[in-house]
């Protein structure tokens, strides 16, 4: 049973390696995220009194939009270079391919968030060392990536692929966005773990369910 996980990690590592060589998507998505934060700053003008109200929304809207951009790119590249066909020719189960792609995207998104979230906290003058926020971000990102990897593979085979991915993706991950926003708000106010437990549970349940469903359904999406 260890072997499938190993194969998935190989696939993920291939993606991580190719991205770390060029750092294309990482830099462009990172800069894009920062620009979104700046625009939101103009939109909401968070003064010191309403920062806690506005900040969670700004953070998660930013991660959502930048994340969709990054996720969209991951399969476009595969399609253009024919890598996906090559990958599918390997004697690997389709759900392992999904897992590998998902872990690769997860690593990518976490890399972006490790840079963007602290910068966001600094720009909005918010407390920096919040383990709760780290867990929230992790759970939410897993949720995004589980659904995003599947829909990205799907959208790449459609006509208006840049727009198709958000249209499919946003409604499905809406509960994750909501939970992440509310939990982040509580975390920024330094509430206890128990106060945000129901939000964490929602994200956990979402992640578990949708990783399983996405893995099961992936083969139908990529087959010719």
């Amino acid at each position: 049973m260890r072997l499938p996980l190993r194969k998935a990690l190989v696939i993920a590592w291939k993606d991580i390696l190719s991205e770390s060589r060029t750092r294309d998507i990482l830099s462009s998505v990172g800069v894009f995220a920062l620009l979104i934060i700046v625009i939101f700053n103009f939109a909401f003008e968070p003064g010191s009194d309403n920062v806690e109200l506005v900040a969670p929304g700004v953070l998660w809207a930013t991660i959502t939009f930048a994340g969709v951009l990054g996720l969209g790119r991951s399969f476009v590249f595969e399609k253009e270079k024919g890598c996906l066909e090559g990958l599918l020719l390997c004697p690997v189960d389709r759900d392992v391919v999904y897992l590998g792609k998902m872990l690769g995207s997860l690593a990518f998104m976490l890399a972006v968030e490790i840079i963007v979230v602290p910068i966001f906290l600094i720009l909005f003058d918010l407390p920096l060392f919040l383990p709760q926020l780290a867990l929230i971000t992790l759970l939410a990102t897993v949720g995004f990536v589980s659904v995003g990897t599947l829909f990205s593979a799907l959208a790449v085979n459609t006509r208006a692929r840049d727009v198709m991915l958000p249209i499919l993706f946003f409604p499905i991950v809406a509960p994750v966005i909501i939970a992440a926003m509310k939990a982040s708000g509580l975390a920024l106010e330094r509430e206890s773990w128990s106060a945000m437990s129901s939000w964490l549970q929602i994200m956990g349940v979402f992640d578990a369910i949708f990783i399983v469903i996405s893995a099961l359904v992936f083969e139908f999406v990529v087959e010719e």
């Binding site: 659904v147 599947l150 799907l154 085979n157 459609t158 006509r159 208006a160 198709m164 249209i167 499919l168 409604p171 499905i172 809406a174 509960p175 909501i178 939970a179 509310k182 129901s198 939000w199 929602i202 349940v205 979402f206 369910i209 949708f210 469903i213 359904v217 139908f220 999406v221 087959e223």
Partner: protein
């Protein structure tokens, strides 16, 4: 068979109309407008039923690869979007006189809006796909994801909204006469859904058959 269905459906609709317009007493706080409830709720229930059918049809299509499941799912999605649109239209029409606002981001309305978008994307994926057969498979995926997502979304939004005050649909229980009216309306709209489904599916089936015959003849 479908003639009988049409007959029963029509009869129930007539009965429902009588009950809603004449029989049921006017509700105390909201007045005549409250009667919209007797259309709004059954239509909402039927739209959930429709999307459940899309879910089952999508699973069966991916599993058995038989076109007829795809036709079932697609027809149900179309009618489901129709009924959901009706919910989203009759809701605000009721809300404006009852609560004073056209729209409020309360749990039910927001979840319904998201549900509407998901099933519109179900149809969009079909037309945006490169080939029709892949489009059908993609749509089935959306049909499955969408239906599983709805309960989770509803829970998240409800939890979100309980932290804000919200307008109440209406207080108190349902008088027996109201309950009767509601049940008859639910039955009437459900039968209407089934009848429309039968028509839509047989139409799609005929179009598909015709396409094959036409190809055979011209080819």
């Amino acid at each position: 068979m479908s003639r009988i269905l049409l007959g029963i459906s029509f009869g129930l609709m007539m009965a429902a109309l009588y009950l809603v317009f004449i029989y049921v007493p006017t509700e105390g706080t909201m007045g005549v407008v409250q009667r919209i409830f007797y259309f709004h709720v059954p239509v909402a229930w039927v739209s959930f039923l429709a999307f459940f059918v899309v879910f089952i049809g999508s699973i069966l299509f991916l599993w058995k690869r038989d076109e007829k499941w795809d036709m079932l799912a697609r027809s149900s999605a179309e009618i489901g979007i129709l009924f959901t649109s009706l919910v989203l239209i009759t809701g605000p029409i009721w809300a404006k006189p009852a609560w004073g606002v056209w729209w409020t981001w309360d749990a039910r309305l927001t979840t319904t809006l998201i549900m509407w978008v998901i099933y519109v994307s179900y149809l969009m994926v079909r037309s945006f796909a490169v080939e029709e057969s892949r489009g059908a498979r993609f749509a089935a995926v959306v049909g499955i994801f969408g239906f599983v997502d709805i309960p989770i979304t509803a829970v998240a939004i409800t939890l979100w909204r309980t932290q804000h005050p919200r307008p109440v649909i209406f207080e108190g229980g349902l008088a027996p006469s109201m309950l009767l009216t509601l049940i008859v309306c639910v039955a009437a709209f459900t039968l209407l859904y089934i009848y429309l489904m039968l028509q839509a599916i047989s139409l799609k089936q005929a179009e598909a058959d015709l396409g094959k015959i036409s190809q055979a003849l011209r080819g």
